[in-house]
Amino acid sequence: MTEKILEFPEPALGSEPMLLNLGPQHPATHGVLRLICELDGETVLKVTPDIGFLHSSFEKLGEYRTWNQIVPLTDRMDYLAPLMYNCVYVMAVEKLMGLEVTERCKVVRILCMEMDRIFSHLLWLGTTAIDVGAFTPFLYAFQERERIYDLHESYTGARITTSATRIGGMMADFPDGWTDSLRDFVNTLPKTLDEIESLLTTNAIHLGRTLDIGVISGEDALNYGFTGPNLRASGVDYDLRKDNPYYDYETYDFDVPIGENGDCYDRYLVRMEEMRQSLRILEQALERLPDGPINVADPRVSLPSKTDCMNDMESMIHHFKLITEGIMVPAGDCYFAIEGSKGELGMYVVSDGGDKPVRWRIRPPSFVNLSVIAKLAEGHLVSDLIMINASLDIVLGEIDR
């Protein structure tokens, strides 16, 4: 009986692939990203990302600015973790100069970087939850992000464009009571994370939308240049804080979460655990924050005190030369990378010995991660494409630079 029904021939309907243009102005693309999708019904045959809408050529602009003037350009790239970009840029220049910053400065920068790792992961968490239809985690995550905005503001005066670092130190020390506010944040965030996890981790809808979606093996992930949480979700244990530690990260007690399947769900789990580990680092860094100067006393980069300038001719000349000529960086090139919130975040600086860089290059983690989307989304549904895009945690300001 049933066999006879199946014998009906398929109607001769047209079934050409369809071209769907997603973005650049679309909330689910997490920025000004355009995805040109070839669809067969609802199945994605091919995705061609089109980027460059936010291109401002920061690297070219940097060649026309003195070394310290580049700092404001860096936080405009990844406005979701601005302090991280501020830090890695000056760390690269300091490395090229052979300049060792003070112990206090190291811990201050670690506090800044780990705080912004949470800052960036929280935004990813909220927006990704929205993409799978969960609105509540978005509100919870943004409420916590608001507290980091406040911490940014009370330290640097700006909520997003922080520009807090200078070559050889920071623009200022923490204001009074700032570390207490941060400690308060560190103590209360786990409760919110628990609440969000209870909403998502075993949620049937969330599991259905993320399990086995956008799977990539560890070997492929490395070959495609994945770094950061995306790579670790595929089971590759590569974290620069452990493998090539800077600023004494090897002396901090924290774990690096590793995924197994390399799907959207593992990328979610890895980021959730990373936030908890960042909180552990923050706690330890707050404990050990040493007293002392925050800026190095190196005449190549630091200004003499105002009293010296008023009383002493040499200091006056020193001050004048540093202000008018800027910092001179010895000739050579240097690549310095940190474990950014989105992957390996590197800065490559080339100097000819002058007051401006010959070349200043950002190794953009999101840019390389996004290039894999064509491979990940192939054969999935359009709605999965949205989830895969969200799970990569991209920021278009840094992709387009």
Partner: protein
């Protein structure tokens, strides 16, 4: 801030000092900082093709290799069990200006050996072409497109060598070259006119344009209808 004003002034007067390399942590092998196992192995294996070796910023090893054999050398670095540079961190280029050759820079990292290496190839301005390494690392796909877009270096055998950050119809050249003026080559009026006259189809690949017919035209007839139409006289 300064310990002694006299010495401070001296240091400024002396100008920039060479890096001592005590800052940061080593991104390379332990032991003698001037020796890198991969560099020695490279020199043994490829001899004259390894043109030059230098240490930058204290402990970062840079190898200049013959641009014509870049893919062969990088493939060996990726596959040799003693090297295993399985992560291509970055591909970029440096233009020093003044007619000097453009340097193509490969930044490599070996996850297993926890070792970094920077490989550089120099390509002359009158023959800006180098072998693509997309066949070795897929990560090179967009990175090489970016170098092509911003420096004009052609990557031979690249599967999809198009502009990536600048518009496809950008006609002012390659922005990160030193001979490119900061504000571009065209007048502001001309730049605005070109931006407004951009065709949204420029960024579609040729293949995708054939999918579902040319955008803006009437959709093609479905299969069934076309067949019927042919049958009826």
């Amino acid at each position: 801030m300064v310990d002694e004003s006299g010495s401070a002034f001296d240091a400024v007067e002396q100008g920039p000092q060479a890096s001592e390399g005590d800052a940061g942590t080593p991104r390379g092998d332990e032991g003698d900082p001037s020796v890198h196992p991969s560099v020695t192995a490279l020199q043994d294996r490829f001899g004259e093709t390894v043109l030059h070796h230098e240490v930058q910023a204290g402990d970062q090893h840079v190898v200049f290799v013959d641009a014509a054999r870049n893919r062969e050398i990088l493939e060996w670095l990726r596959d040799d069990p003693e090297q295993r540079y399985d992560l291509l961190v970055d591909v970029t280029a440096v233009d020093y200006g003044g007619g000097k050759p453009i340097q193509v820079v490969y930044q490599l990292w070996s996850v297993g050996h926890k070792r970094a290496l920077r490989v550089k190839c120099e390509v002359p301005l009158d023959g800006l072409s180098i072998n693509s390494v997309v066949q070795l690392w897929n990560a090179a796909n967009w990175l090489e497109r970016e170098v092509y877009d911003l420096f004009g270096v052609e990557f031979v055998d690249h599967p999809d060598l198009r502009r990536i950050l600048m518009p496809q119809n950008y006609a002012e050249g390659h922005p990160l070259r030193k001979d490119f003026p900061l504000r571009g080559r065209f007048s502001r009026a001309e730049q605005t006119r070109r931006a407004l006259s951009q065709d949204y189809r420029d960024d579609y690949t040729t293949e995708s344009l054939e999918v579902g017919g040319t955008p803006g035209l009437a959709p093609p007839e479905p299969d069934g209808l076309t067949e019927e139409a042919e049958d009826t006289p």
